[in-house]
Amino acid sequence: MPVLQALQLGKQYGGTAALSNLNLSIEKGEIFCLLGQNGAGKTTSINLFLGFTNATSGEAKINDVTVQPNDVATKKFVAYIPEVVQLYGNLDGIENLDFFSRLAGFKYSKESLRGFLSKAGLQSEAHQKRLSTYSKGMRQKVGIAIAIAKNADVILMDEPTSGLDPKATAEFTKICKELAADGKTIFMATHDIFNAVNVGTKIGIMRHGELVHTLNTRDITAGELQKLYLETI
């Protein structure tokens, strides 16, 4: 059974189709990278899986449960890392993680919270510093820790590497692979072709709200993918 599924999924905004007839099926342990220009429908796909907006046609399913807006039923299966992980500047790393975990219904000890932050790659000196002093990469790591702590089957990421320095991107890639090895499914929208080939198991290319190509990363190199991407858009 696929963990993440889109069936003829479509979304219209005032007559223009942001997404049309998306069909997808992603299995457990896969990392699916979605490429495409701004406005191609990547973020819309993620928002539909999160139930932040209602689909105009078709359906999005997680663990075979249809996603409904304003319904928390599918929320426990997904964790989300937005493009901008801002979090709360007046709280420190542990407090932020504790807050978001409690929202999801988890009460962790301070030790466990530290464990999640460390697993996400945040150095322990930073754990008790206010988020307002964090760099983007560090905040991203707290975002990852929030996703890990939620222990969800699926992690949806919206351009998670934008604005990260190469070292931070490399660390991020490593963590994604570990998560996939633990049996998590990752669905990520990205502009980073090189990283997509590096981290993904599958890659999709979108254009004008349609998924044009779907390929396995082991069949393609970064150079070939770049060529295909440029031809597609």
């Binding site: 928002n47 999160l50 932040f52 907006t53 304003n70 928390v72 929320k75 426990k76 997904v78 964790a79 989300y80 937005p82 493009e83 901008v84 992980v85 801002q86 979090l87 709360y88 007046n90 709280l91 407090e95 807050f99 978001f100 409690r102 929202l103 999801a104 219904g105 975002g143 929030i146 939620k150 949806l156």
Partner: protein
Amino acid sequence: MQTIIKLTLTNAWRSRHLQIFAGILLLAFIVSAINSVLVLKAKEQQFETARQEVRQAWLNQGPQNPHNAAHYGHYVFKPVYGVQALDNGIGQFAGAIIRLEAHAQNEPKFSPAESRTDSSRFGEISFSWLLQVLMPLFIILLCFNAVSADKEQENLKLVAAQGISNRQYISGKITANFLVITALACAGLVTQWTVIKLMANATATPQDVLHSTIWFAVYLVYFLILTTLSVCTSAWAGNSKNSLLLQVAAWVLFIIVMPKLTANIGTQIYPMQQRTAFERAFRIDEEKGINGHDSQSERYKKFEDSLLKKYKADSISELPVNVDGLAMDAGENYGNRVYDKHFAKIRTAIKQQNSISKYASLINPFLAVRNLSTGLSQSDYQHQLKFVADAEQYRRYLINNLNTKMAYGGSKTGDWDWQVDSKYWETVKDFDYSRPSLLWSVKNYWYEAGMLLLWTVFAGLLFVFTAKKLKLI
């Protein structure tokens, strides 16, 4: 919801600009507490001393002609209540001392604004003003970005993705911010109480405590309404900047401009008679009557004839009573009718003027709270009216008593040197003002109370609607 509350509280607690504003507010609470207690305490002590002196002077005036005593007059003082330390209402401008004398109804005199030029020039910080005007501004600063900041920083999506419903999220925001406001208001109330306790001893009676409790509850309802409106506006506004601009504009309109506007509209629609016109009309009516000193008027002749008929006598000197006393009593009765007629017009005009702000509380909860607040603290116009009416009733009792003594006490008509003995004065009761009850104080404000309830319901519906329609992207 608890998690949201905890987060919001922590955020507010650690926010520098809120710390500063809360500090200013607390300082203002202390200043207002000291100020209002000083004013009340000064009044209370002066009035109590003066009240006793006036009564002693009355009792110890010795043998005296009753009508001389009536002209010398008597003074009554509007009592001061502890609850007025919370909201001084019209106390700043309303006269609190009335001189009672024969033939005339005097207006209350000696308001603080007359005698203390400093406070009337600079205005006063009162606790009620802080809660009515400044606290809403603090609520806006606290809540204007309650939802919009989470939207702008993408935290709202992350929060929603964690599986919390919009309703839980918004109600958590409202509850947390309301708790902050309540804590601050409580701090203000405790400051007020502490200062009263430290500086004045027996001002808080059980009735004061009862009034204060309900008074404070009204303000908490007001804050809950405002917090809900502010948080919901934050959810609807495109961004925090718009939300702040909109809310500050609403604050200026509803809390600064509209109260003045309703007052102006009131005086335009229901203009009050000019003082000179009032006095002229009054004199015309008054001169048609008798006053007991002028034996030439037509009415006086009729009055004499009726007396002669009643006692079956031929001339005034045969009568067993002092006609001057009876004539003055009749003069009082006539004068009272003239006063009642003319003052009723003025009172009606004031009530009509006040009614504009009363009915405007339908669109402005501030007005509802302001009016209710003065009512509950017994510093409103209605209470002033009651004091004036009670004082006038006592004046009528007093003057009637003196005139009756003059008429039937054994003196002859025309003998203005006749004196009563000094024991007589004790038989005249002192003015004993009975404090109006809670129900009496509230009953003039059912409309405002209803409007506050209506606003609460509206805020509740707005919350439900906002939670349903909140857009995450």
